[in-house]
């Protein structure tokens, strides 16, 4: 394996980190700084340090990655050996988008069931007819547990429960 190959997605992510720090640093300039008291620090210091941390680490990692030095991941290699599967990732992502949209309109039970089923599909569920009743029961049980026994409110939506 050629470890010296330039990993462009990794370069992009590191530059994204630096950019995030930069955006934050600009926004920090909006904070008014009262210069009162012995506390010479004010509300800008800590966010600025954090933003600088992101900018510096992002830039250094980015330059290294550009040169082809990507340090090995901390995680167990088993996960990494498998290739990235864009299709399943996008399905899982769509599940989140759908859940966020449905939660407000149709309520938790519908949104939760959709989220459950779409996620299961993204993870390779091949028996939707077997999974659907499980999803419905699971979501119903969660809903009842939270609303009836724990006294927490969940968006009810269109299901009259």
């Amino acid at each position: 394996m050629d470890a010296r190959r330039r990993d462009l997605p990794y370069v992009a992510v590191t530059l994204g980190i630096a950019l995030l720090g930069l955006v934050a640093l600009l926004e920090i300039q909006q904070i008014p700084t009262p210069t009162l008291g012995y506390d010479r620090t004010g509300p800008r210091l800590f966010p600025s340090l954090a933003a600088l941390g992101l900018i510096l680490t992002g830039l250094i990692l980015g330059i290294r990655a550009w040169r082809g030095e990507v340090p090995e991941p901390d995680e167990d290699e088993a996960d990494w050996a498998r290739p990235f599967d864009a299709r399943d990732f996008i399905i899982a992502l769509l599940g989140l988008v759908a859940a966020a949209a449905l939660l407000r309109t149709t309520g938790f039970i519908v949104a939760g069931t959709v989220l459950f089923m779409v996620t299961a599909t993204a993870l390779g569920d091949r028996r939707p007819l077997f999974s659907l009743p499980i999803a419905v029961l699971f979501v119903l049980a969660t809903y009842l547990l939270f609303t009836r026994f724990l006294g927490l409110n969940l968006p009810r939506g269109i299901v009259p429960l």
Binding site: D39, T41, L54, D79, A120, F146
Partner: protein, 503 residues
């Protein structure tokens, strides 16, 4: 013997029927999340926070402590029977444990893990019982300078010293620190990093970040790894009950004790959770073993040592949490958030103001450990059955619970959207090898660091030198600098020495 009196009162609290029930619930939940891959104790506590407001703080912490220990027990089951660790602290167990299982010694591996966990958990709890009050005495003398130095030390350990890439650790930490500053500044009342959005004035809740990173990010990551391997990998069945034989006992008990001796002190340090002690214990067992040829093929010491180490380190990690309010792992960070939610600040004063809570919690650890041994030895077959839950359904369920938990936190749709967005960030972090724990710990400790720093500056009339001239604070700062500067240099030197022959 004041300690024993306090502990006795603690047992009075822990043994009430309600709290016994909560301990049982906690250890069961903990074992469950330990067994199931994809859910860990940090995520579980995060999801339970909204629920926990319904019960008294003392009882909630008794339940959380049960989850902490239970997860360590449960994680070993998955490692041994499935070779896919249920918990990061059980990764090492999978090496030898699964090899033992494949040789038909699954029951022996499970037994040595459970008994070792019990011994280490109990000895560790005894350590906590006596060390905590002693530390409280010292901690009372701590001013903001010392707390500042301690938090900086914890940050250095968690982000830069441990892990393969210091830079990625620091980036992860900086992200957490930045997220923590969003919202109204507690000292000046100024809005920070809200980008003009009123929704962000209240800040981003730590639970939203933790659930996003650990639950949503993890699910997206698993989904993105393709479908081939997602069939439940061969779960090794438990054929009958083949108990440990005499030789396995003889080889286990020294490993248990060594694992305990390694795990507890390492747990008290801000060393980033229970993983490091298991690795150290494994390396030592391998070196000391009279059967080194068995390592990699199912050496029982390689299960006994690390499993003892992870439980002992859990007990150890409660020492700085309770006495200093300093979490050393993502899980204890979530426990600190729980304390804050109740308006409690762990630290020396907590021992004085809420002795019932603290000692009830400590006493419940003894109870929980005993329950776990009883729960795990005979019922391990039941837990093993959980491994047959199809992954798609498991992760579907995790996302539903993540959504419910996040929404009920503040009944906010914005939080739900935020948790999904942070989930995508968490996916990117995992995809590109950035550690997640520093973000969570940074988010929890960041505000404390800032408060302590500004308090120190106000009390010290803006004198920065106090951070190094006060003896305890100065020592910790020097130690931190040493770790951050010297350790990477050694690492660099070693890399170059290793690289030379290749080039």
């Amino acid at each position: 013997m004041e300690v024993l009196g306090s502990l006795g009162e603690g047992f009075g609290v822990a043994l009430t029927p309600e709290n016994l029930l909560l301990t049982a619930l906690g250890v069961t939940l903990g074992t469950l999340v330990g067994v199931l891959p994809g859910v860990g104790p940090a995520l579980t506590i995060a999801l339970l926070l909204p629920v926990a407001t319904q019960i008294s703080p003392g009882s909630a912490f008794i339940m959380f402590a049960g989850i902490l220990y239970g997860a360590m027990y449960g994680g070993s089951t998955t490692s041994i029977l499935l070779n896919t660790p249920g918990e990061s602290a059980s990764v090492i167990t999978a090496l030898e444990g699964n090899a033992m299982a494949r040789r038909g010694r699954a029951a022996a591996a499970l037994a040595t893990a459970a008994i070792g966990s019990f011994i280490a958990g109990t000895v560790g709890t005894i350590g906590l019982t006596f060390l905590a009050p002693a530390l409280v005495g010292i901690a009372l003398a701590f001013g903001p300078w010392e707390y500042f130095a301690l938090i900086v030390f914890a940050f250095a350990m968690i982000s830069a010293v441990l892990g393969k890439s210091a830079l990625r650790g620091v980036a992860s930490l900086a992200l957490g620190l930045l997220l923590a500053t969003i919202g109204l500044d507690r000292q000046s009342g100024q809005a920070r990093l809200t980008f003009g959005s009123p929704e962000l004035l209240g800040g981003i809740h730590v639970v939203v970040v933790a659930v996003g990173l650990f639950a949503i990010g993890e699910t997206l990551f698993i989904a993105s790894r393709g479908r081939r391997d997602l069939k439940v990998e061969s779960v090794i069945g438990l054929v009958g009950l083949v108990w440990m034989n005499r030789q396995e006992w003889a080889r286990s008990w020294p490993a248990w004790l060594r694992g305990t001796a390694i795990g507890f002190p390492l747990g008290t340090l801000p060393a980033g959770g229970a993983e490091t002690p298991t690795m150290v214990s494994y390396a030592i067992e391998r070196r000391l073993s009279k059967h080194p040829q068995e390592f990699g093929r199912g050496a029982i010491e390689g299960v006994a040592g690390p499993e003892a180490a992870n439980n002992a380190s859990v007990a150890g990690s409660l020492v700085p949490l309770l006495t200093l309010g300093l979490p050393t792992s993502a899980t204890t960070a979530m426990m600190l958030v729980a304390f804050q939610q109740y308006g409690l600040q762990p630290g020396p004063l907590l021992f004085a103001s809420s002795p019932q809570l603290v000692w009830g919690l400590i006493a419940s650890l003894y109870v929980g450990n005993t329950l776990l041994l009883l729960l795990n030895l005979p019922l391990v077959g039941v837990w093993a059955k959980l491994l047959e839950i199809p992954r798609p359904l498991l992760y579907g369920g995790i996302l539903v619970l993540a959504t419910v938990g996040t929404y009920s936190l503040q009944r906010s749709m914005v939080d739900v959207i935020a948790v999904y967005v942070i989930g995508v960030v968490g996916f990117l972090m995992r995809q590109f090898g950035f550690p997640l724990a520093p973000t969570v710990v940074g988010m929890v400790l960041g505000p404390l660091l800032e408060i302590q720093f500004r308090r120190a500056m106000q009390i010290g009339l803006g004198d920065l030198t106090l951070f190094v001239t006060r003896p305890i604070a100065g020592t910790i700062i020097v130690l931190t600098v040493f770790l951050v500067v010297v350790v990477p240099m050694l690492r660099f030197a070693r890399r170059h020495r290793l690289a030379k022959p290749v080039a």
